[in-house]
């Protein structure tokens, strides 16, 4: 069972799902920082199932929608990276108040990994960050979004010239603000290196994208999906879920 709720500033409310610990002492709170855009839609189900498994295993879990994403308020074109970093900090505070947990762990997925690490600097109580397929940095993620847009345009055979010109302003089918573009571009790998290596654990599903910080424990899990193509396919992998649970429940 979970509880869905809104929280945060009254004009920019955030949406979250809280899964209380089903058993155990509930000492640990895990906050899930999801990926963005179509990756979030594809991963929603697996992240929900992960939250249920963790709560059944004795952890409190909070799943967050950043401002301008999911059920949270705001338009995507109005928000920036700094808002999303603040959202994670708000979610941790809210989750701690709800759960009474003293130990916080973050799961960051794709761009959510970069945001989680960026926000961790202001969160002294974060014990561990598990990063699932972290994007290398903001600039390469922006390029990935541009490439995704180019692929989308290839698939739209019948766009008029005006529509095609307009669509070229989008990133993976989304309008994002100049502020967002600037902040994402400036988000380099120092977001990762600023977190003590002992707190980081990386799980990758591809051997292609090297994690930019050396000396961080990493697992490579072979899965049958790929973030970068077939943008409308649901992500599911039992092996990956088991690995994530193992990392997040390790004492």
């Amino acid at each position: 069972m979970h509880e869905a709720f809104f929280f945060g500033p009254s004009d920019q409310q955030l949406f979250a799902n809280y899964h209380p610990a089903v058993r155990g002492d509930g000492r640990v709170l895990t906050v899930i920082c999801p990926p963005l855009f179509s990756e979030y839609m594809r991963a929603h189900s697996v992240l929900r199932e992960l939250a249920v498994s963790l709560s059944e295993g004795g952890q409190h879990v909070l799943r967050l929608d950043y401002r301008g994403t999911g059920d949270s308020f705001c338009d995507l074109s109005e928000v920036g990276v700094s808002d999303w970093v603040e959202d994670i900090q708000l979610a941790v505070r809210e989750g701690r108040e709800l759960s009474g947990s003293s130990v916080v762990r973050l799961l960051g997925v794709r761009a959510g990994a970069l945001l989680a690490c960026k926000s961790a600097g202001a969160l002294i109580d974060v014990q561990r960050l598990v990063l699932w397929d972290p994007v290398p940095d903001g600039a390469s993620y922006l390029q990935y979004l541009r490439d995704a847009q180019a692929t989308l345009l290839e698939q739209h055979f019948y766009l008029s010239r005006d529509e095609r010109r307009e669509a070229k302003q989008e990133y993976a089918g989304h309008r994002i603000s100049d502020r967002m573009v600037g902040e994402l571009g400036a988000l380099d790998a120092s977001a990762y290196s600023s977190v003590p290596k002992s707190k980081l654990h990386v799980i990758r599903t591809s051997s292609e994208n090297e994690f930019p910080v050396q000396g961080v424990p990493q697992e490579l899990v072979q899965t049958a999906y790929n973030w970068e193509s077939d943008l409308e396919n649901k992500i599911m992998s039992q092996q990956l879920s088991e690995q994530l649970i193992a990392c997040l429940t390790l004492s």
Binding site: F5, M41, G173
Partner: protein, 283 residues
């Protein structure tokens, strides 16, 4: 969520709170909203209640600004709602709808409904309309349609398909990608997974909307163009319901994708739905 112009309330309802949804209501200044039909957004394929790229969230909030309430709901087994074991998909959706009616009655009273959905959401909306007199409106985004005789539907679609250079370029790229990525992919082709209503069910649903003096908005995209729709107005011609044009608005956007994956198309469909609601959906 308190707001001067709209409110949103997460709901967990039904047996054991198995269903999840978000009720959006206009603010107090919007007049007597309890008398207006409430929009119910039904899941598009495997996507959770926010819809493709948040289309349902944005529609719900825009409609609230016009005075319409809405519920975007996760049907059993989708998004945050629990599965109903031992039921077929149709049985499960029918059971969900009874619980949806119950929660809306408790919050808004016995209001009429407008059912809205993309893809399988449209399929479910059509079937649910058959047995529920309170459904007075349908927003069908890529619903089922059927080729009509004598128009050469397949021939024309095939001609367009095989003469588009863009298609060949995209095809080569996709093939290359498939060869260079790991195997074991699960490709979710919605056409393979949908449980289409029959032509008779579709006709009966539209007739029942006409009898209830309701309205229908249908929209076909490039997706429908692939297999069963290639001419503006085809649905009306195939279904042959008397007075079709008096209560149905049919749009054809072959330039748009099935999930409105470009923001420019999402903005446009939101405006179309708002205009349609403003013109035709009243107390």
């Amino acid at each position: 969520m308190p707001d001067t112009v709209l409110t949103e309330e997460p709901l967990q309802f039904g047996e054991g709170g198995r269903l999840s949804g978000i009720l959006t209501q206009p603010g107090m200044s919007s007049g007597n909203v309890r008398e207006r039909p409430v929009f119910i957004f039904l899941n598009a394929g495997f996507l959770h209640r926010v819809g493709p790229s948040r289309l349902y969230v944005r529609l719900a909030r825009e409609l609230a600004l016009m005075g319409f309430s809405s519920l975007r709901v996760d049907l059993a087994g989708k998004g945050d709602s629990l599965r109903r074991p031992n039921l077929t998909n149709r049985q499960s959706v029918a059971a969900d709808f009874e619980e949806i009616k119950g929660v809306l009655d408790s919050h808004l009273g016995g209001v009429p409904f407008v059912l809205a959905g993309v893809c399988s959401g449209a399929d479910n909306a059509i079937r649910l309309t058959l047995n529920e007199r309170r459904v007075v409106g349908l927003v069908l985004l890529d619903p089922v349609c059927f080729p009509n005789d004598g128009f050469g539907v397949r021939a024309r679609a095939t001609f367009v398909r095989w003469t588009s250079p863009a298609r060949y370029i995209a095809g080569f790229k996709n093939r290359f990608r498939a060869l260079t990525t790991k195997d074991g992919w699960t490709r979710n082709d919605p056409l393979d997974q949908r449980d289409f209503p029959t032509q008779e069910q579709l006709r009966a649903a539209l007739k029942s909307i006409r009898e209830r003096e309701g309205r229908v908005l249908s929209m076909f995209t490039h997706y429908a163009f692939r297999g069963y729709y290639n001419q503006a107005g085809q649905l009306g011609r195939v279904i042959g319901v008397e007075g079709y044009h008096q209560f149905c608005t049919e749009l054809f956007w072959p330039q748009a994708s099935h999930t409105y994956s470009l923001e420019l198309h999402r903005r446009r469909i939101i405006e179309e739905v708002k205009t349609w609601a403003a013109n035709y959906i009243h107390s």
